[in-house]
C-alpha cells in the first residue's frame, strides 16, 4: 500500500508526519522547520506563499495574508462576525452560509484556503520521501461538528489528497503518548491550541484506546487570549487604530503573552500607535481567568459524561501551545489533583499521533485500535420545533440509528427531514446540519407509509443518510443539502481550479530556481569582466557579454522562468570563450604551482631521509 501521512492542520501551525520503522517523525519543510505556519499570502501577480514566507508578510500586507482560517471552517457569516471585527480580511457579500474571503477580487472559501497549506505539507512530504503522496489522515478538534469535519475533508480533496480518516486531535495525541509511555488506565487529554479547546477522557487497555467522553469549544484558544489583549490595547490606546494596525497589535500582544510564560512581566510596545505598557503575570492571569475557567468547565462535563471523578484519572496529558501558560497548568493540576504530563512536545504530538493512526490504516500496526466518539448529539426536528435526539453524544463511532417517518396528509409524496447537532431542546438552539426530502413516496392515506431513515455516523464523525419505504421496500432518493457546507459539485469545481494553482505553484518555484541560477551566473560574469583575459577578447565578444548580462539583469525581474532561462543561455553562450580562457590560465597556474610545490617538498624529504 502507498504511504499514508498524518497531518495536523492547525489554527496557527500545521505539520506532516510519517511512521518509519515503527516510530513516528515529523517531516520538516525545506527551511528545516517542523512547523509550517498556517498562513497564506496572495501576491498581486497571482503568486502564493505559504508558511514562514507568508508569515513574514503579515504586517506589510494584512489584507491579503490570511491566517487562522481554521476558525472559519464550516461556518457562515453570522458565526464569525465577532472575529472578523479584529481581522483585516475582506469578506465576500455572498457569505451567509459559507464564509468567503475576497482577495484581489476573487472569492475563497476556507477549505480552498486550507488546501494551500495542505498542498505545501504534501510537497514537503514528497520532497523528503521521494515519492508521490496521495493518502492522508488529517486531524480535527474533537469538538468539530459535522460541517467542520466535512470542510476539512473537502480541503484535503481540493489539495489532491485522499483523506482516509479524520482523527480527533486529543485522541491522536493519546496515540502518540500511549505508544511512548506504554501506559494503561484512564487518561485525560487537555488540548488547548491556537483556536480550539478539547478535552477527551480515554481508557487505555491492551492497545485499545477507547474514548469515553469528549467535550470542548471549537472557538476557544490562544487566538482568544490574543484578542483579549488586543482589546485591552485598543481600549487604552489614545489614537484610534485602523484595521491595518491590527497585525502589529496582534504581534505585540502575542509576544507579550508568550513572554509571560517564563517571565513575571512583559512589555507591549506598538510604536506606530505611540503605545507602550508593562503587563505583569498577575494582570495577565486576571484577564484570562474566565477563559481558563471555561476549559475547566468542559473538563468537569467530560468527567461527568464518562461517569468518573477527577481522582479516577491516572494521567493528564497536555497538548497545544496554550498549555505553556503557567495559569493553565496550575489550574489543570488543581482540578485533577495531579501534576500534568508535559514532556511531549505540545506542538508536535498531534501530528505524530496522526502518523500512528495512518500506520494503523496502512496495516502497519494491528495491535493498536482507536475507538472514538461523536462529540455532539445527533437529532431530527419534530413537531413544535423540538429536537429529538437519535444518537447521543459520546457514542462510539461508527454509530447508527433508525427512525420511522410517515405522512400527515392523504396522498402526500414528500416528507421533509431536518437533521441537527447539539445538546439543547429547541431546534433554534442547535446547529442545523442538513435538510432533505424523502421523495416519491407512493400515494397512500395519511400515516400509512412507513419510511425508515437510517442515519450513520462513520469513523470520521461524518453523517450519511439512507431511506427505505417499508411497505414497498423501495429505497428513497436522499439528496442531503448541507446547511453550512459545500456541495459535491462545488468541491469538484474547486479541485479543478486548484490545478491552476498547482501549475502556478510549479511556475513560481521554477521562477525562483531560475533566478537563483541567474544570480550565480551574473556573479561569475562580474568576475570575468574584471579578469585579465577579458581584455584579450574581441570588441564584439566584449560587447555581447555586456549586452547579454544587462539583458539577464532586466529579465530576472519578470515572473517568467522561460525568459530567464533564455537570458541565462544567451549570457552563457557569450561568456563561453572567456570562461575557457580563464579556466585554461587557471589550470596553467595551478599546474605551475603544483610543480613548484612538488619540487619543494621532494627535496627536503630526501634530505631528511639522508639524515
Amino acid at each position: 500500500m502507498a504511504r499514508i501521512v498524518g497531518i495536523d492542520l492547525g489554527t496557527t501551525n500545521s505539520l506532516v508526519a510519517i511512521v518509519e520503522n515503527g516510530t513516528p517523525r515529523v517531516i520538516p519543510g525545506p527551511d528545516g522547520n517542523n512547523l509550517v505556519p498556517s498562513v497564506i499570502y496572495f501576491g498581486e501577480n497571482g503568486e502564493v506563499l505559504i508558511g514562514n514566507p507568508a508569515k513574514a508578510k503579515l504586517i506589510e500586507k494584512p489584507k491579503n495574508t490570511i491566517f487562522s482560517i481554521k476558525r472559519f471552517m464550516g461556518k457562515g457569516m453570522t458565526d464569525v462576525k465577532d472575529d472578523l471585527a479584529l481581522l483585516p480580511f475582506e469578506v465576500s457579500a455572498e457569505s451567509e452560509n459559507i464564509l468567503k474571503l475576497k482577495v484581489f477580487g476573487r472569492d475563497y472559501t476556507p477549505p480552498e484556503i486550507s488546501a494551500f497549506v495542505l498542498r505545501e505539507l504534501k510537497r514537503n512530504a514528497e520532497a523528503a520521501l521521494g515519492e508521490d503522496i496521495v493518502n492522508a489522515v488529517i486531524t480535527v478538534p474533537a469538538y468539530f461538528n459535522d460541517a467542520q469535519r466535512q470542510a476539512t475533508k473537502d480541503a484535503g480533496r481540493i489539495a489532491g489528497l485522499d483523506v482516509l480518516r479524520i482523527v480527533n486531535e486529543p485522541t491522536a495525541a493519546s496515540l502518540a503518548y500511549g505508544l511512548q509511555e506504554q501506559k494503561q488506565g484512564i487518561v485525560a487529554v487537555y488540548d488547548f491550541g491556537g483556536g480550539t479547546f478539547d478535552v477527551s477522557i480515554l481508557k487505555l487497555s491492551e492497545g485499545i484506546f477507547e474514548v469515553l467522553s469528549t467535550s470542548g469549544d471549537t472557538h476557544l484558544g490562544g487566538d482568544d487570549i490574543d484578542e483579549q489583549l488586543m482589546r485591552l490595547v485598543l481600549a487604552e490606546s489614545k489614537t484610534t487604530p485602523d484595521p491595518r494596525d491590527f497585525p502589529s497589535i496582534r504581534k505585540a500582544t502575542n509576544k507579550a503573552k508568550e513572554d509571560l510564560s517564563s517571565a513575571d512581566e512583559a512589555e507591549i510596545s506598538i510604536p506606530s500607535l505611540g503605545y507602550s505598557r508593562k503587563l505583569t503575570r498577575k494582570e495577565f492571569d486576571a484577564l484570562i481567568t474566565p477563559t481558563v475557567e471555561r476549559t475547566l468547565k468542559s473538563c468537569r462535563q467530560a468527567l461527568q459524561d464518562a461517569g468518573l471523578k477527577p481522582g479516577d484519572v491516572s494521567e493528564v496529558v497536555m497538548v497545544g501551545g496554550s498549555t505553556r501558560i503557567p495559569l493553565v497548568r496550575s489550574r489543570v493540576q488543581e482540578l485533577f489533583g495531579r501534576v500534568p504530563h508535559t514532556s511531549l512536545n505540545p506542538d508536535e504530538v498531534v501530528a505524530l499521533g496522526a502518523a500512528v493512526q495512518a500506520d494503523i490504516l496502512a496495516g502497519g500496526k494491528r495491535d493498536m485500535l482507536l475507538l472514538d466518539v461523536t462529540p455532539l448529539s445527533l437529532g431530527i426536528e419534530t413537531m413544535g420545533g423540538v429536537m429529538s435526539k437519535i444518537i447521543p453524544r459520546n457514542s462510539t463511532i461508527p454509530a447508527s440509528a433508525s427512525e420511522m417517518f410517515t405522512t400527515f396528509v392523504e396522498g402526500q409524496t414528500n416528507v421533509k427531514v431536518h437533521v441537527l447537532q447539539g445538546e439543547r431542546e429547541l431546534v433554534q438552539d442547535c446547529r442545523s446540519l442538513a435538510q432533505f426530502d424523502l421523495k416519491d413516496i407512493p400515494p397512500m392515506p395519511a400515516g400509512l407509509p412507513r419510511i425508515e431513515v437510517k442515519f450513520l455516523i462513520d469513523a470520521d464523525g461524518i453523517l450519511s443518510v439512507a431511506a427505505q419505504e417499508q411497505r414497498t421496500g423501495k429505497y428513497q432518493s436522499v439528496a442531503v443539502k448541507p446547511t453550512y457546507g459545500l456541495t459535491d459539485e462545488e468541491v469538484e469545481r474547486m479541485i479543478l481550479e486548484s490545478f491552476e494553482y498547482a501549475e502556478s505553484d510549479i511556475e513560481a518555484r521554477e521562477v525562483i530556481e531560475a533566478r537563483n541560477e541567474a544570480s550565480t551566473v551574473l556573479i561569475a560574469t562580474d568576475k570575468g569582466l574584471k579578469s585579465e583575459e577579458f581584455a584579450d577578447l574581441s570588441a564584439d565578444e566584449r560587447n555581447e557579454i555586456i549586452a547579454a548580462a544587462a539583458h539577464l539583469q532586466e529579465t530576472v525581474k519578470i515572473e517568467d522562468h522561460r525568459a530567464i532561462r533564455d537570458a541565462i543561455e544567451r549570457l552563457s553562450q557569450a561568456t563561453q570563450r572567456l570562461a575557457e580562457m580563464i579556466m585554461n590560465s587557471a589550470i596553467g597556474k595551478a599546474l605551475k604551482n603544483k610543480r613548484v610545490r612538488e619540487v619543494d617538498t621532494d627535496e627536503p624529504t630526501d634530505h631528511l631521509d639522508k639524515h
Binding site: E206, A362, P398
Partner: protein, 178 residues
Amino acid sequence: MNYFEVFGLPKTLNIDLKTLERKFHELSRKYHPDYFTTAAPEQRQQALQMTATLNDAYRTLRHPVQRAEYLVELEGFKADGSKVPKSFLMEVFEINEQIEEVKAGSATKEQIAALRGEIEARAAKFDSELKSASLAWDNLVASSAEESQRKQQLTKLTEILSESSYIRNLQRDLEEKP
C-alpha cells in the same frame, strides 16, 4: 441480527459488564473499519455497517435501563411514559413543585438536602425494582417458562420502565437549578 445476538448472548438482563467489554474489544479488533482501509469497497462498507451495529449494541446493552427497554421492545412491548399509575404521577408532581421552589430560591439548605434525599430514594427504589424484575425474567428464561408467565413478566418490566424517564428528569432538574 439483534444486539444480544451481536454479542452471542441469550436474551437475558443480567450481564457481566467486564465480560461485555472484553467481547466488545474482541469484536472491534475483528471488524473495525481501520483494518479494512485497503479492502474492496464492499468489504469496507460491510466493516462500517458491522462496527456501527456493534457500537450501537454495546451502547444499549451496557446500561441496565436501555438494555431492558431494548429487550421488551424486541418482545413486542413498549415502555410508555403516559401509562404510569396516577399515584406515581401525583408523587412526581409534588416533587416537581418542590424543585420549582428550590429554583425560585425560596428553599432552605435543609429543604434542598431533604429533596435531594427524596429523589435519590425514588431513584434507588426504581433501580431495585428493575433489578429484581430483571432477575425474575432471567429465571423464567433459564427455566424455559411458559409463554403466559413470560408475557406477565414483560408487562411488569414495561410498567417499571415507563417510570424511568420521570426519575431521570427529576434528577436532572434538581442538578440544573441555578
